[in-house]
Amino acid sequence: MPDTTLVLEQLTLGVGDLTIELSCQLEEGVIGLAGPSGAGKSTILRLVAGLEPGATGRLACGDELWLDSSSGQFLPPEARRIGYVPQDSLLFPGRSVARQLTAGRRLLNASAREQVIRMLELEDLVERASDALSGGERQRVALARALCADPRLLLLDEPLSAVDPTRRLRIWRGLGRWLSERGLLTLWVSHDSTELQACCQRVLMLDQGRLTADGEPAEVLAEAALEAGDGIRNDLPGYDNVFPCRVAGDEGAEMLLSLGAAGPTLRVPGRAGAPAGQALLTIPARSVTLTTLAPGLTSARNTLPATVADVVEAGELAMVEASVDGLEAAIRVEITRRSLEELSLKRGDTVFLLIKSTACRVLLASKVSTPTPT
């Protein structure tokens, strides 16, 4: 397998008010690019694709030099052998799906193309006109088109954002296998932390054109979540509740985590090992059960008394913010509107939170330094 290590050295590009400045080495696997809108994620993909000829610095892929502004070297996009899926899919108008899939100058053989079609669940769409496809279908076709062009580097800009969740889950699995079997280096821009964790082995966090974090997806995302939400939480799925905590020790197969100096201690699976220390705990809002009566014995390993601080309704769902003694921030609990009505929850009500230990994620993040529990 040819070396496709991507080396970016002082890669710089000014786009409007944004200046991209990036130096890093990307060896293998699926690498996520995350960060707020306008951080430069899509521009970095374009830059690697060769669609930003104004860039300066040095960019190499394996033995090939793609850009070296000091010597004036620039390899055009068509010579880079990349698969690029732009944010808007950009299918060629007036062409059938079958023609989209064979639009590449290089093509996978017919059986590999069939595999791509099955993997992206396009069997029923192949003969259709691409102009009549829905947003999610267009995205799948655009991804298939890029894969069928037999690239050695894949650049994906939110490639599945409009695909329905169930299908997206299946595609993540299939695509993950496909990419790993071929050792295809992939840069994947996404705003979906679940997607980044499911599909990527490494995440680069960007802000204002610069790299702010680089590492294992869960750690990088938790750190970003912590910073984004005044140190406590944000709106990323799965990161509704992020708490800095201290690993206090373990009991059997469970770790004990202290949340804040006077906060509760939670049990999660695993062993603290040595040295025990600072960590982050994520509790998905939808994995917390809420009762108005003190529960008896339950399978949930953590039961916390709390007070309803706020209830925010959104469609068929409601987010209950429950204050727990010793915790500065409330724990967010997602319930259905029907549950809300049946429980007749209002501010000040006493409730009990049942937190499944297996739903919690502990990130023993070496990079995590703030905020420190006191």
């Binding site: 694709a49 669609l51 068509e78 732009p86 639009a103 590449g104």
Partner: protein, 238 residues
């Protein structure tokens, strides 16, 4: 030559004039459109999606024949194509003068049709999302392959319209053409100049016939344009 009484089977002078003018009009307009297209297409492609001052100035300059009096364009062409002019036969080493030939009419009609072809073709290229060209490049296609395989097919509707508009402009051209090619029956006389000649000498019936033919030609051209557009729309929606 008798005016109206002619022997059975031979064409009347009017019909011979009309047929000759029609033929010359079709020939001159077709060649002029091709000439205008050949020059305008690469320029339109270059000018599309360019907003710089230089590009705008070039675009305006190239569009000038559209707003100048045709006789002014004819005068400039007359100077250029004169035997010893900058593009005259002496300079180019050609055996005969351009002037007063159907070739001169092609050049004049081509120059007059050029701005319309340029503007319509530029608009057609601007309709093609430049990001599609980028995608094509990332799929391994060179700029030329991208142009031929992606841009041209997507711009074909607008380019067809450009061709039709150019053709109708060239077919109806009079001022510049008559200045450099004259109004010589059976040699350089087109429908437009034949109508002028007929009404100058009071042959209103001849003029009416010629106008009828011009109308039919214009209708056919516009109908062809409509057909091309609807065919293209059908292809896109299928």
């Amino acid at each position: 030559m008798p005016d109206s009484a002619t022997s059975r089977g031979s064409p009347s002078p009017v019909s011979a004039t009309v047929l000759s003018a029609l033929w010359l009009t079709l020939k001159i307009a077709t060649l002029a459109t091709l000439l205008a297209f050949a020059v305008a297409l690469p320029l339109a492609r270059w000018l599309a999606h360019r907003d710089g001052i230089a590009a705008r100035l070039i675009y305006i300059s190239l569009s000038l024949p559209m707003v100048l009096p045709p006789t002014a364009v004819g005068f400039v062409l007359l100077q250029l194509l004169a035997v010893d002019g900058p593009t005259g036969t002496t300079v180019l080493g050609l055996p005969a003068s351009w002037l007063l030939t159907w070739q001169a009419a092609v050049i004049a009609a081509g120059v007059m049709a050029f701005p319309i072809v340029l503007r319509t073709a530029k608009a057609a290229f601007e309709q093609v999302d430049p990001r599609l060209q980028e995608v094509s490049r990332t799929l391994g296609h060179s700029p030329l392959q991208t142009f031929l395989g992606t841009v041209l097919p997507l711009a074909s509707r607008g380019l067809s319209a450009a061709a039709i508009m150019g053709f109708t402009r060239a077919a109806s051209e009079f001022g510049a053409t008559v200045t450099v090619a004259g109004n010589i029956p059976f040699q350089t006389q087109t429908l437009a100049s034949a109508i002028y000649a007929a009404q100058q000498v009071g042959k209103d019936t001849d003029a009416a016939i010629l106008i009828g033919v011009a109308l039919a030609l214009g209708f056919a051209a516009l109908a062809t344009a409509e057909w091309l557009i609807s065919r293209s729309q059908n292809r896109r929606s299928s």
